[in-house]
Symmetry: none
Subunit: 214 residues, 4 copies
DNA sequence: CATGAATGAGATTTCATTCAT
DNA sequence: AATGAATGAAATCTCATTCAT
C-alpha cells in the first residue's frame, strides 16, 4: 500500500532508518485526528506505520513526543510561504488577500496539514505548552500577515475603517472552521464544494469590507 | 421525579437529590471540555459533582451515557427558541438575521452551552453516533433556519443571488469558531471583545450580501 | 492459610483496609528475598498478598514504595530494644555482650526481619538512598551500641587493648553473615544448628578478646 | 583459537579478538555487581565491553550464559592455590591458618574476584543451579581446607576441642562479609583499613581457639 | 441510596534477542 | 565477524466498573 514503486512483497524486517520518523508522524497524525490523542494506542500507530511497537521508541521518546513532532514539523515550514507571497505582491490589497487566502487554502486543505487545527483544538487542554506554542508561532504569525494587508488597505482607502485584528479573525474563521469540520462532521453533513465555499467567503467578505464606490 | 408524587410541596433539602443527574452532567461537561473525554476520570467527575464514584453509576449506565446526556440535554431545548424567533418576525431579513444571531449568541456564548462545539469536535471520532445525532438534530436544523431567512431575503431582492446553504455556513462559522477558540486557545491568544467580534461579523457579512442600492 | 481463625471460605471481595498495607509488605518481602527486587513482579506480590494488582496501588505509590516501607517499618523499631538492654545492664561487659547478641539473635533470626540484610545487600546498587539510610540508621546505630560495650570493657581491664570499632565489626559479622546465608545458600549448604553457631562464635570471640588472667 | 592455527606468531592486533569473551565477562561483572543481574541491560554490557549488542551473542548464548561464565571462570582456578598451600605446609596450624587466610585475602580482596560473593548472594534466588554449583564447588571445598587445618590443630592439642565445621564457618565469615560489604555499603559506611580488619580477626580468632598455655 | 475499596482489562514502555546489512 | 535497527513478550501502572458494607 505504501512502501515504494516495486510492487508487492510484504517484507517483514525492513531497515528504513531514514524515513521512519516521518512515516511514524504521518501514521500518528491519521490516528490522532480520527480518534483523538488519548484514544490512539501506540500499537495502532505502530501498525499504521507498518512497524512494531518497539520501533516507535527508537525514534521518539514517548507518545507525547510524536504528537509534538507532528505538529511542529508539519506546520511551521508553511508559514514562510505566506510571508513571501505578501512581500512580493504588487496591486490592490483585495487582490493580495485573495491570492494569499487561495494559496493558503490550496496548500492546507488538500494536504494532511489540514488535520492540525482539529487536533490542537481537541488536545489543547492536555498539552497547554503545545497550544501556547501553536498560538504564538502559528496563529498570531499568520494573523499578523493578514492584519498588515487589511491595515494597508484601510490606509489606502481601499477598505472601510475597522479594527484590523478582528477583521483578520473573521477572514480566517471560515477557513479554520472548514478544516475542523472536515475531520469532525463531514461524513454526516451534506456534501459541499469546498472551493466554492472559499470563493463565496472571499466574495462576501471582500464585498463587505470594501469602501463603496459611488 | 420519583420521591414525592404529590408534586405540591417542594421541600428544599430534597432538591439536591432531585438535581443529582444535572449536577453530574455539569461537572462532567466542565471536565470533558478541559481535558477531553478520554482524559477525564470518573473519579474527577465524582469529585467535581460532590458525590462518590459509585453514585455516578446510580444515575448513568457508564461514562459514555454521561457524555450523551450532557450533549442532548443541553443543546436541543435551545433550538426551538430560535425557530420561534424566526416565525414571529416582522421586518427586513437583515433585521431578522441580526436578531437571530445576536439571540443565539447571547444564549450560547454566555452559557455553559458554549462548550459543546469544542467537545463534539474533539470527540466526534470516538462517538460517531453522537456526532451524527448532533449533525442531524442541531447543525442542520439551525442551519435550515438561517437558510430560510437568506433565501427569502434573496427572493425579496434584499440580498444578492447566491447559494443560501453556503452562505448560511459562512454566517455561522465565526460564531462556532469563537466558541471553539474560547475553550482551546483563549488563554494564550490576545484578549478580544467577543461582542464587538460578533457585531463586526454581522456588519461585514450583511454588508457583503446586500444588494447594493444605487 | 492466612486470613483468620474462622476456617475455610475463600472470599473474593474482601474489605480489609486496616491490614492491607502490612499484608502487602510481608508478601513483598517474601518475594523480594526469594527472587530479588527486579525479578519480583507486582502480579506476584498481589497474588501472594491475596489481592489484585490494582489494590497494591491503592496503598503504595509504586513498587519502590513497597520496598522502602518494608525496610523501614520492619527494622527500625527493633533497635531501641537493644539500646534499652544496654542501658539497664549491670554486671560484666562480657555478660552484657552475650546478652545483647543473644537477644538480637533471637528477635532477628527467627523473625521475617532476618531477610532484610540479604535484601539490602542485593539491591543496594539500585537503591542508594535506601542503602545509605540503612547504613546510617541501622548499621552504625547498632554498631555504636557494641562499640560502647567493648570500649568500656577495655577501660575496665576486662578486655585487651584494641580498636573497638573493628572489634565490633568482627562481633557482628558472623551474625549478619548467617542471616544472609540463610536466604542465599542454605538449601544447598549442609544443615547446621544456628544456635550452636552463635554460641560458639561468642565463646571464641569473647575468649579471644579477654585479658588473660594469670 | 581459530584464526592462525600455527600458534607460533602472536600477532598483537589479533589479541583483542581473542580476548573478547573475557572482556565481555569483566564488563558484565562490573555491571552485575553495581546494578544486579536483572537491572543490567545487555546494551550496557556491550558498551562497557566496547562492542555492539549483536557481538555479545556471537560469544554467549544469552545473558544467563555470561553470568555463569563470569562466576565459573573467575573463581574455580583460585581454589587449587589454596589446596597447594595447605599440602606443602610445615609448622604450627596457627601459622598455616594465618598463611592461608592472608593468602586468600590477598588474592580475593584486591582482585575483581571479590565481587562474586555479593553477586551470588544477590542472584541465588534466580539462579539456583548456579548457587548450588557455587556451594558445592567453592564454598564447601574451601571450607574443607580450613576444617582439616582446624581438626589437625585440635588433634595436636594446639586448639581447644570444638566442632571444626562451625569454627571454619566462623573463620571465614568476616572475610566474606567484608567482600560483600565492599560492594554494598562501603561508600556510606566509615572508612576502615581492610588489612587491619583481617589482622585483628586472626588475632582474636586464633587467640580464642588456642588452648591456653599455663 | 450512598460509599469507596477492590477488581482486572488494557494502556504505555522496556529490553533481551533476532537478523538484514 | 560485526553491527545496530527492528521485534514483541512481558513488565508496570491506570482507571472504568463492581459490589460488600
Amino acid at each position: 500500500m505504501s512502501v515504494s514503486s516495486s510492487g508487492a512483497e510484504p517484507v517483514k524486517w525492513q531497515r528504513r532508518k531514514e524515513n521512519r520518523p516521518e512515516e511514524i508522524i504521518l501514521a500518528a497524525l491519521d490516528l490522532f485526528v480520527e480518534k483523538g490523542y488519548a484514544a490512539t494506542r501506540m500499537l495502532d500507530v505502530a501498525r499504521q506505520a507498518g512497524v512494531s511497537k518497539g520501533t516507535l521508541y527508537l525514534y521518539f521518546e514517548n507518545k507525547e513526543a510524536i504528537f509534538r513532532a507532528a505538529v511542529e514539523q508539519l506546520i511551521v515550514p508553511r508559514i514562510s510561504q505566506l510571508e513571501a507571497l505578501q512581500q512580493s505582491h504588487q496591486g490592490s490589497y483585495e487582490a493580495l488577500i485573495k491570492k494569499m487566502i487561495m494559496g493558503w487554502w490550496q496548500s492546507v486543505w488538500h494536504s494532511r496539514l489540514s488535520v492540525v487545527p482539529k487536533l490542537l483544538i481537541s488536545e489543547s487542554g492536555n498539552f497547554p505548552e503545545l497550544a501556547q506554542y501553536f498560538t504564538e508561532h502559528v496563529v498570531k504569525r499568520v494573523r499578523y500577515i493578514f492584519v498588515q494587508a487589511i491595515e494597508q488597505g484601510i490606509k489606502e482607502k481601499e477598505f472601510i475603517e475597522q479594527d484590523a485584528v478582528t477583521t483578520a479573525r473573521l477572514l480566517m474563521a471560515p477557513i479554520i472552521q472548514a478544516a475542523v469540520w472536515k475531520y469532525s462532521f463531514k461524513v454526516f453533513d451534506d456534501e459541499q464544494n469546498p472551493d466554492e465555499y472559499i470563493r463565496q467567503h472571499l466574495h462576501i467578505f471582500l464585498n463587505g469590507i470594501q469602501r463603496k464606490k459611488h
